[in-house]
């Protein structure tokens, strides 16, 4: 505690005459402030420990036991099984199928969503002056819409006979498939839905990032004869790198947990072709295989973290994590400062 007191930033006591005095004086102040701060933190932390941290730990405990739903009444019959559940998860052919589906969804969905959002954000930022709000609001609308209502509407849109999508495809002579009943096309339909639902958030993040791309650079490059694409490739993208990384990470975290779309649209079918790892976990919970499902949920957690790390490797450089956290500060500061 004394070490922390010594390095506290931004609170220097005038060093000249007060040094011994300050050493006596600081700890009580610090203690008082710590008490006050914990008073502020306490209501949140109690709820947070009970309803978030508690269940996370409980889940980990479940994962190393053979707990099933009928054991809840008689918890002493539960046995510690170590990593058996994890071994069983990886040996489970349905899990492998679900993992492959999830990988498909993430590997196609994340780049697709990022590219589309970036393209729209760049065009929105290219100097158009009218209807900017209209576009931003329009693209964001799916984000605030309940997945249940989305499912009702999309089931119609994807309907083989009376659906709008096949009707539009018919105009150009394509005979659209029965999207949700086809093992080939059900997953692309899910990806399209997820992209539609996520693009609005990313557009706003990218727009905020694009504001920080210095126009002087663009002007200088344009004077030197760089074309639109060259400037995008060599100025916009590198400057936007931290924002792109951030967008990729939050989209990735969301997409690995892919659950709602198949849950409301296909129930994982046809023939498990849209069954995701999160959905398989949910089903196993439903069947009462608590220990097994908890282990699988931790496998999912592991992949979330793994994907985030991979994205940091691919898109980030060493100082990105810090820049990411600091970036919002100027926005807020401007706001207060004015």
């Amino acid at each position: 505690m004394s070490a922390q007191t010594a390095v506290r930033p931004g609170e220097q006591v005038p060093p000249s005459r007060t040094d011994p005095y300050a050493i006596r004086k600081r700890p009580p102040l610090y203690r008082r402030r710590t008490r006050a701060a914990w008073g502020f933190a306490l209501p949140f932390m109690i709820l947070f420990l009970v309803f978030t941290v508690g269940p996370v730990l409980l889940s980990l405990a479940m994962a190393v036991t053979d707990l099933r739903s009928r054991d809840l009444r008689n918890p002493f019959a539960v046995e510690f099984v170590g990593l058996d559940n994890f071994i069983a998860v990886f040996a489970d052919p349905i899990f492998r199928k679900a993992a492959a589906n999830t990988a498909y969804f993430v590997l196609v969905g994340v780049p697709l969503t990022l590219c589309l959002a970036l393209a729209i954000a760049v065009v929105l930022n290219s100097g158009i002056t009218r209807a900017k709000t209209l576009f931003r609001v329009g693209y964001y609308m799916p984000v605030v819409t309940s997945i249940v209502a989305v499912a009702v509407v999309w089931r119609f849109l994807l309907h083989p006979d009376v659906g709008l999508i096949n009707e539009v495809l018919g105009w150009v002579g394509i005979d659209g498939p029965n999207w949700l009943a086809s093992t080939t096309w059900a997953m692309p339909s899910m990806i399209a839905m997820a992209t539609w639902r996520s693009i609005g958030t990313l557009i706003i993040i990218f727009l905020a990032g694009l504001q920080s791309v210095p126009t002087a650079l663009h002007e200088a490059a344009a004077l030197d004869g760089a074309g639109v694409w060259q400037r995008f490739r060599h100025i916009t993208v590198p400057t936007l790198r931290p924002t792109l990384l951030f967008g990729a990470v939050i989209t990735g975290i969301g997409y690995v947990q892919f659950f709602e779309e198949p849950f409301v649209m296909t129930q994982g079918g046809p023939l498990n072709s849209t069954l995701s790892v999160a959905y398989h976990t949910y089903n196993q919970f439903g069947f009462g295989n608590y220990g097994y499902a908890a282990a699988m949920s931790y496998v999912l957690f592991f992949f979330v973290v793994l994907l985030a790390l991979v994205q940091f490797r691919l898109l980030g450089d060493r100082d990105t994590p810090r820049r990411r956290r600091r970036k919002p500060t100027p926005v807020a500061r401007q706001e207060i400062g004015r």
């Binding site: 710590t34 941290v53 889940s59 100097g127 344009a222």
Partner: protein, 307 residues
């Protein structure tokens, strides 16, 4: 001070308003500078317009089709505009289902969750941003660390917990698990970081207690962030689906999404007109709120990057 914040907020949180094209500093936006900015704007509008139609057409189609008769909805080829607009679907929906009850449930849960988050998250966010105390780093890491935990990890332990507390099928069971969300702490902290230390120190020098500083100095400054968190939390709770589906076991505790989901997968699966009317009832209030308050969403995303 707070008035000052209020008046400037709209142009600082959104992308800057375009200056008039004849203003000197607006030159780079005009067609005349020759820095490649003379790019045809109609092309940008075309791209954005087509995208906008694609993105919003499900909503338009939903609204229009909810006014169609059952027969017209099943018609091949599908129509855009209802041939004989009718409100029958809505009338039947309200006859068959207890919508006022679902609406009340959704509202009670969403309001309670929002108020709780505003109070608890801003308190913790404030000390994490503006105070130095023992255990601060640990607290922050603990809270942030759970942002990445998949919902599936906690679903069943949470349900077992709530069941043991005897809270299944109660408002408390629907509300309590969401009262303290890490996202809110993160958002409020990010905002509070931008408040100058001098303001808080000045109040401390004047002898104000931490509680008084928080209520009288910090909160008035944080109105934009509070509005942002409030709206995001409210709509998140309003749209929340999986947990209410698990916890609400009788109709008198269903929220709107749960009611619509059970309705659309149950025996009414093929009452297309009714389902579309239900979707409209669920979506339209949210969209209206969103359209009125959209700038706060933009600000929330810009502050934290998380929807």
């Amino acid at each position: 001070m707070s008035a000052n914040v209020d008046t400037t907020r709209s142009d600082s949180q959104l992308p800057p308003v375009e200056p008039p094209t004849d203003a000197p500093h607006g030159r780079r936006r005009t067609h005349k500078t020759g820095f490649g900015e003379a790019r045809p704007h109609w092309l940008a509008y075309l791209v954005l317009g087509v995208g906008l139609i694609v993105v919003t057409s499900p909503f338009i189609w939903m609204a229009l089709s909810s006014l169609k008769s059952e027969g017209e909805i099943r018609q091949v080829p599908p129509t855009w505009f209802p041939e004989a607009p009718t409100l029958d679907n809505f009338r039947e929906l309200f006859d068959r289902l207890d919508f006022p009850q679902f609406f009340t449930n959704s509202a009670v849960v969403a309001i309670a969750v929002t108020l709780g988050n505003l109070v608890f998250c801003s308190m913790l966010g404030y000390v994490l941003a503006k105070s130095n105390f023992a255990g601060k780093k640990l607290l922050f890491r603990l809270v942030l660390g759970t942002l990445m935990v998949p919902g599936m990890v906690t679903l069943v332990p949470l349900f077992v917990l709530v069941a043991n507390m005897g809270l299944v099928n109660t408002y408390f069971g629907l509300i309590l698990p969401f009262l303290a969300a890490p996202f809110g702490v993160f958002l409020m902290r990010q905002f509070f970081l931008g408040i100058p230390d001098e303001l808080i120190d000045a109040a401390r020098v004047d002898g104000a207690s931490e509680a008084r500083i928080f209520v009288q100095v910090v909160i008035p400054l944080a109105k934009p962030a509070i509005a942002t968190l409030g709206i995001i939390t409210f709509l998140g709770s309003w749209n929340n689906f999986l947990w209410p589906l698990v916890v609400a076991t009788t109709e008198d505790k269903y929220t709107l999404p749960v009611a619509l989901a059970l309705y659309s997968t149950g025996q009414h699966q093929t009452d297309y007109g009714l389902l579309l009317a239900g979707a409209v009832v669920v979506v339209v209030p949210v969209l209206i709120v969103f359209l009125i308050l959209q700038r706060y969403f933009v600000q929330g995303v810009a502050l934290t990057g998380i929807k």
